[in-house]
């Protein structure tokens, strides 16, 4: 009894650990469940050009921080002769914006600095928390003429709106209205786009909604010489909804497709010892497999869990692991077919090895070759058994015979260019020899009928195992989520408890039911 309870406990633990890890990887880290899912990766390069005055130069440049919709694969800065200080690492509690710094003892004339960041579109499921913005309201907005206008404008916008987004739309419309006295008062001071956006941001925040000033880069297809767009990001924390607003456009923009380069209204670039700064952005877009991208992100240090992944192994090791990880699924097939269906096979796991050979040779080719090699082997073995050899020499002789068959197949195949015969070398020799030996013993002890039943059974299981082990989606899943093995183990353990009838027994014992039902018929 306790063994049974232990086993159930174990099964529950294994399933929850295996499935749990898989789901965490899928939902938290965005590993796709299906293979070959592609994601867009953008390489954004910012080129800063300025004129140096011939003295010590220091350039502070704002760069993207942790993004909600984009993950960072890597960043770098380069420029001849300049010392580069990288930005603070990305993390949960980073400041609202980050800076990179270039510096040089002395520089003169036209200077060019490059900063490059590679970002990828995060899978939809992922959400990053946005740090609370601390907005500092300009004191003049709280004083006589402006404070009144602000109150009026907010009031009329609120009257015509239902939520933060519609309020902002209304606000933009009112501010754009040249006939509105209050708008005119407010805009008198706001002569640049940045100041107007700051005004808009202040109004939104004063109305009790949350918004941030951001500089964003539109990530579309590959393009060069793109400017940053200054916008207001409206955040609804309750619905976790984010909208971007441009000056003069009451329609919100979907933040998807925009990389928030800088949040908060501080300067984008600060230059000491230089002037006439200009920043150009160029974007190169590539589509890469999502798993590959995620591994890259893991290597960059965004996500440490994944550093344990099998993808960090060498390519050669990876491919052997890919096959290795499929064997448990083959074993599961064998358990199901033997214990639930009740098909007799020769050898418990011979069908798995056969299926692995089929994976290399293709199914039909493999089956034809297997039947031919085993038949020839059986004939040779029948002769050997007449010589009354001892076991080990006998099996060794069968190995030699099987290799002989394989070599002659390969030679004939090469001579007449028959690819089917050439692929015979992909079969595991020892397994074939052992199968021949086993089947011939079976032939002597139980007759040809049993040999045919078991060979057919083995082939059937091998085909089933081949179909499972060759399934591309499953192969991918087993490789990316190796913890699924725990689930396979749990299923096998659970099947180990199955004490019901095998499918074959429903047929085997049917005569008893028939005679019990009607002895007269």
């Amino acid at each position: 009894m306790t063994a049974k309870i232990q086993l159930r406990f174990l099964i529950v633990i294994l399933v929850s650990a295996g499935l749990g890890l898989t789901l965490v990887k899928h939902y938290r880290h965005g590993y796709p469940m299906v293979p070959r899912k592609q994601t867009a990766v953008w390489s954004v390069e910012a080129r800063i050009s300025f004129r140096a005055k011939g003295e010590a130069v220091k350039v502070n440049f704002a760069v993207p921080g942790t993004q909600e919709l984009f993950g960072v694969l890597g960043e770098s800065g380069s420029s001849q002769d300049y010392g580069f200080t990288a930005a603070a690492p990305l993390g949960e509690d980073e400041p609202l914006y980050r800076y990179v710094t270039w510096s040089q003892q002395e520089a003169k004339g036209q200077q060019e600095l490059y900063y490059r960041i590679d970002v990828y579109q995060r899978p939809k499921e992922l959400s990053w928390s946005l740090p609370e913005g601390r907005i500092v309201v300009d004191p003049q907005f709280d004083q006589a003429p402006l404070a009144l206008s602000i109150k009026e404008v907010i009031g009329s916008a609120k009257e015509r709106s239902a939520d933060a987004a519609s309020f902002t739309s209304q606000l933009i419309q009112i501010l754009a209205n040249a006939d509105n006295q209050n708008s005119q008062t407010l805009l008198r001071e706001a002569d640049t786009e940045l100041r107007r956006l700051k005004l808009l941001n202040t109004l939104i925040n004063k109305a009790g909604y949350e918004s941030h000033l951001i500089r964003a880069l539109s990530l579309g297809d590959t393009q060069s010489r793109q400017p940053l767009q200054q916008m207001v990001l409206l955040v609804d924390r309750e619905t976790n909804d984010r909208r971007l607003f441009e000056w003069g456009n009451p329609r919100p923009l979907d933040p998807e497709g925009f990389l928030a380069w800088q949040r908060g209204g501080a300067g984008l670039i600060e230059i000491f010892g230089g002037s006439g700064a200009k920043v150009d952005y160029s974007v190169i877009r590539q589509d890469l497999p999502l798993t590959f991208v995620l591994e890259q992100a893991a290597n960059y240090g965004e996500d440490n869990l994944m550093n344990l992944s099998l993808s960090s192994l060498s390519f050669e090791q990876q491919s052997s692991f890919r096959l290795l990880l499929m064997i448990p699924f083959g074993a599961l097939v064998v358990v199901i077919i033997r214990n639930i269906v009740g098909v007799k096979t020769s050898g418990t796991f011979m069908p798995i090895l056969l299926a692995m050979a089929f994976l290399k040779t293709q199914l039909l080719t493999g089956m034809i070759l297997f039947v031919i090699v085993v038949s020839v082997g059986l004939i040779m073995r029948a002769y050997l058994s007449r010589l009354d050899l001892l076991l080990v020499p006998r099996i060794s002789a069968v190995v030699v015979v099987v290799i002989g068959i394989m070599v002659s197949f390969g030679l004939v195949g090469a001579k007449f260019d028959i690819p089917l015969m050439q692929s015979v070398t992909l079969f595991p020799t020892i397994i074939l020899a052992w199968t021949v030996e086993r089947l011939s013993v079976l032939w002597e002890e139980d007759g040809p009928r049993e040999v045919i039943t078991q060979t057919a059974g083995s082939l059937f299981v091998a085909i089933m195992a081949y179909m499972v082990m060759g399934n591309a989606t499953l192969r991918y899943q087993a490789f990316v989520f190796p913890e699924l093995l725990l689930v396979v183990l749990a299923v096998i353990l659970a099947l180990g408890q199955y004490s019901g009838y095998r499918l074959s027994e429903l047929f085997r014992f049917a005569p008893l039911v028939k005679s019990a039902q009607g002895p007269k018929s």
Binding site: L390, G496, S499, Y501, R502, A510, P511, L512, S515
Partner: protein
């Protein structure tokens, strides 16, 4: 009727109390048969030694050859005997059994009438020792033992081979029995899956109940045509008690005992099996499960303190047809 596949539903089988392979392995063999006792039945030499200790009748052991060099003393060993059997201690499915029915000068006679020399016997023993006939090809012992003189009462019921009685003994209680009759199809062997006829035997009377070959009901022997209903096993009382006594000797809770009838010595245990098959249910047209559960329902003292004959009496009362 034939030709068409008939399927039973799991519920129907359950209702009849039929036990399946998974249940036999999981709930009975794994549960009642301790692995460490397996050699007691897998190695026929150990079985024989135990049987002698426990006073259970088996074919007498004339000698055993364990090492290659002992083969030289074979002639001396065989001198007193005209009839004997040489078999591997751990052979499977009747492989490597050499039966000698008499001597003719320097030669030995086989049942088929052909003659062999002493050297042939030596070679046979050498092969046996090196594992030619044994499970997994392990090195083995060769046993030389009494050749059973088969009782004439089974004439016409068996083709060539040896009819034997298989009794399933659960916790010392005989629960079901059948007789296995070899046929031409089974090549004289008494294995049901090779085409031997299985005859279900009533535990109380020792008379035939029903019979199957290849999983189908038969009423007469396919080769001799004898009505199988007429089969009645003599010395039944002795046979059934002999089987029940194998429990104490092996300590295996789920056991198959194979018993043969000798013309002079009566019932003898030929071999024991720790993994007896399920075909006995088809031969008897009855499920094993109710009988096993009946025994499982007994209290511990009831199971432990009863003598073999008390157990037989209980089984007869409970499991009469």
């Amino acid at each position: 009727m034939s030709g068409r596949f008939h399927w039973a539903s799991p519920r129907q089988l359950k209702k009849l109390g039929i036990i399946g392979m998974n249940q036999r392995n999981g709930s009975y063999i794994a549960h009642y048969n301790d692995r460490k006792f397996y050699p007691r039945v897998d190695d026929k030499f150990i079985t024989k030694e135990l049987a002698v200790e426990f006073g259970i009748r088996v074919p007498e052991l004339y000698g055993v050859i364990r090492k290659q060099h002992e083969v030289r003393g074979l002639e001396e060993l065989l001198r007193p005997y005209d009839q004997f059997v040489i078999k591997p201690s751990m052979g499977s499915a009747g492989k490597g059994i050499l039966v000698i029915t008499g001597r003719d000068g320097d030669e030995f006679c086989k049942p088929s009438g052909s003659r062999i020399k002493l050297n042939d016997i030596r070679r046979h023993i050498s092969n046996t020792l090196s594992g030619l006939y044994s499970l997994g090809g392990r090195n083995d012992k060769a046993m030389i033992e009494y050749a059973i003189a088969f009782d004439d009462c089974f004439d016409g019921f068996s083709f060539q081979g040896v009819p034997d009685v298989r009794v399933i003994v659960f916790q010392g209680y005989p629960v079901m029995a059948m007789m296995r009759l070899s046929t031409e199809a089974s090549d004289g062997k008494a294995n049901l899956h090779q085409g031997a006829v299985g005859v279900g035997i009533d535990i109380v009377t020792g008379k035939a109940r029903s019979a199957v070959q290849w999983g189908k009901t038969v009423t007469e022997h396919p080769d001799t045509g004898r009505k199988l209903k007429e089969l009645e096993i003599p010395h039944w009382e002795e046979i059934i008690e002999l089987s029940a006594r194998c429990f104490e000797m092996t300590e295996l809770g789920y056991l198959g005992a194979d018993i043969v009838l000798d013309k002079h010595l009566g019932p003898l245990i030929l071999e024991l099996n720790a993994r007896p098959g399920l075909a006995i249910q088809v031969a008897n047209n009855t499920g094993l499960l109710p009988r096993l559960q009946c025994i499982e329902g007994l209290s511990r003292p009831e199971r432990m303190l009863r003598t073999p004959s008390e157990r037989v009496a209980f089984a007869k009362k409970q499991f009469s047809a």
